[in-house]
Subunit: 428 residues, 2 copies
């Protein structure tokens, strides 16, 4: 049987996962691809440290040239992470006539156009299924399964770390700090958790999905971003009472030639399937104009799930998938809406003086800014303070912000304790 | 741009959906496939009735020969439904050197091997994405996205009609009969609902998914089947109290060389994402040995979602997808386990005499048959009757049945009111 040689860049968690899968499912992979796939070279920082390959006989090297210049290598799998030198190496591999598979969300979010362009020029594949949603086949779904659809919107839980933290807060009543510490203990969060809890990781992934779904190029820096650091156990409790669960959502919606793009904590109806996506699981909810809404969920990270997506990309290349996807679609120039122009429902929690006339004063500020109240709960607090929890009808974010700013200045208001968006995902 | 001509068999709901999508998303479809797709001939029973084509200029015909013998038609889309003559027409089309796309679950469940064989022989595609799960791309997911995995199990909500009925029973407290009448009013259920509520439709679909996932050929008649007709509003209420939701599940699990295959109502933990798949939505939950668990959900029926899957299959063929999938995998001979050999947890509701010693008597029967009780609730009923609701630990179905049979014969037992399986889907 014909052999296909693969060069791998990086031998960390996912790299080892790929090796493990190639070994464990060897017979299936060979049968499904019709050829024998062999990882023949692996780029590492230190050859001495990598003396126990899991599979066959790859030659470790510290020189990228050994892989680029090896004419027998047809596919390069990039699992180093980070923008550089990963992007440069992938470009070199493509220009040397090799197909490229990557799990690198940052490199794809930043350099996707250049990488896809280089692949097109050389008539090679550039596949990146593992860059979004770990083992969840979301890229293939957008690219192939839904290609009879005009995609209208995407809503995703695409960061496993923050979902783990929010789940522990919600199910175990923990504070953000406790849940973060637990996530770090379990290896779900890094020592510096900023990229995950701050929403940066989700922003990269949303940029990748959006560029693909809407035939455009999204600069990830144009995506509105808010992390989960300010979500409190109290807000999670109120959310429950109102029938919601708080999730870090990544949202993309197309309005004519304008994209609404945002990553932030949001309340999701507790009877929506997204509400039950817990712990480190990810889910992506897509609306297409023919298929209506589709949701796909699974493990968004980890060596084996992510490795599953990487190996599936390799198999597709080896099988000889045609290189035509999106080739006829000219890139569209789409604007990105200012967050102030978006329409949403909001949950607002205020700490106020417990005195006569307070509610009237606040209500009139809302009314003046065209913010229409949907529900209201008032609760006594310690001392002479009270808590007011509002949810609003659909409101322009700009008006809402002006109202909240004005409310913050009122003498009767101690503080605006929380402001969380409510996302209506349900179709039926 | 190159044109590809398609012949369509049948012009019912899904056929019209396909036309509508081809018209609505014409630019996308052309861009994604790189060619212009044209439906040039449509087989109907009565040409007179079909004078308002939605798109371009298809010639309606009542003769299959007009399509088979038309050398310009490269793809035949079968949307007639039913086993025959659909299967015969598809075989003829394949043997005439045309690719075939179908949405016909019965024809695929019964004649899949023959159809796939004919396609292989002619080096043509036989695609059937729309035959399972409507618009949900489950076939492609099994075939491509998860092809680095050994699939271990499948659990699906794959009949929209019965899910709609169970949802209305659960959310609105309706009886089975009321919910069925509502489903019929809304067009979700047919006048004779047997195929849907009796689990037959789910059995065909499970046979298709299982054959594909486990590289085998499943005879749908070997699948254990129970419908939802006997599910009562009372059982749904008890399920809620125990933290469960009742769904009609289709299950396939591989144990060595034996398949566990069953379609029946089952209790699913209410915090599992499958529990929130409501109304006519479908969901399929797959466990692979690398990716772990993946769930995909969406509209399991309807002209547009099903049409989306059909058109996506057409695009794949037009793009020139390689014909190698599974080619190297020899079919496996797998046995099907007798339902009596499977291990499950059970919910059992008994109506008994409200007298001293009754519980002891029943418990001793369970114990004698190695059925271990997990939870027990006793409730007073009218007259001198009581209700006993048991849930069990994992038990061999054969033993459970013997125990229930023995219990049924006890003088103190009025009747065994319900027996419903509990399915543990959660991985985390």
């Amino acid at each position: 049987m014909e052999k296909v040689k693969v060069g791998m860049l990086g031998y960390g968690t996912i790299g080892r996962g790929v090796f493990e899968i190639m070994k464990m499912n060897r017979a299936y992979i060979t049968a499904n691809s019709g050829k024998v796939i062999e990882i023949s070279r692996v780029l590492v920082r230190d050859v001495e440290k990598n003396q126990e390959p899991l599979l066959s006989d790859p030659t470790f090297t510290t020189s990228i040239d050994d892989i680029i210049n090896d004419g027998s290598i047809q596919i390069v799998v990039e699992l180093m992470g980070g923008e550089e030198p990963a992007t440069e190496y992938m470009l070199r591999a493509l220009r040397a006539g090799k197909h490229v598979v990557t799990a690198n969300k940052l490199a794809v979010a930043v350099g996707g156009d250049k990488l896809i362009g280089a692949a097109r020029e050389m008539d090679k594949h550039f596949f990146y299924e593992a860059s979004v949603g770990g083992g969840i086949p979301i890229i293939r779904q957008i690219n192939e399964s839904l290609n009879a659809n005009r995609i209208e919107s995407i809503a995703g839980i695409i960061n496993g770390t923050s979902n783990y933290i929010l789940t522990k807060m919600s199910k175990q009543g923990r504070s953000f700090e406790e849940a973060l510490a637990l996530a770090q203990q379990k290896g779900y969060a890094e020592a510096d958790p900023t990229s995950d809890v701050g929403g940066f990781d989700a922003v990269y992934k949303l940029a990748i999905m959006t560029s693909l779904s809407f035939f455009t190029t999204v600069d990830y820096r144009d995506i509105y971003r808010e992390g989960i650091e300010k979500v409190t156990a109290e807000d999670i409790e109120y959310a429950k009472r109102f029938g919601y669960v708080i999730k870090l959502l990544a949202i993309a919606k197309l309005h004519g030639k304008q994209l609404e793009l945002r990553v932030h904590p949001a309340m999701v109806r507790s009877d929506h399937p997204m509400a039950n996506i817990n712990n480190s699981y990810n889910a992506i909810y897509i609306v297409g104009n023919a298929v209506d809404d589709i949701m796909i969920s699974g493990k968004g990270a980890g060596a084996m799930p992510t490795g599953s997506a990487v190996v599936s990309d390799i198999i597709s290349i080896v099988k000889g998938e045609p290189i035509v996807e999106g080739v006829g679609v000219p890139k569209r120039e789409l604007g990105v809406m200012d967050i102030g122009e978006t329409y949403m429902q909001y949950y607002i929690r205020l700490t106020v003086k417990d005195a006569a006339g307070v509610l009237a004063e606040i209500s009139s500020v809302f009314a003046r800014h065209q913010v229409s109240i949907c529900t209201l709960v008032q609760e006594k607090m310690e001392g002479d303070l009270a808590q007011l929890i509002f949810t609003t009808h659909f409101t322009k974010e700009g008006s809402l912000r002006q109202a909240v700013e004005a409310i913050e200045k009122l003498d009767v208001v101690e503080q605006v304790s929380s402001l969380i968006r409510i996302e209506e995902l349900a179709k039926e």
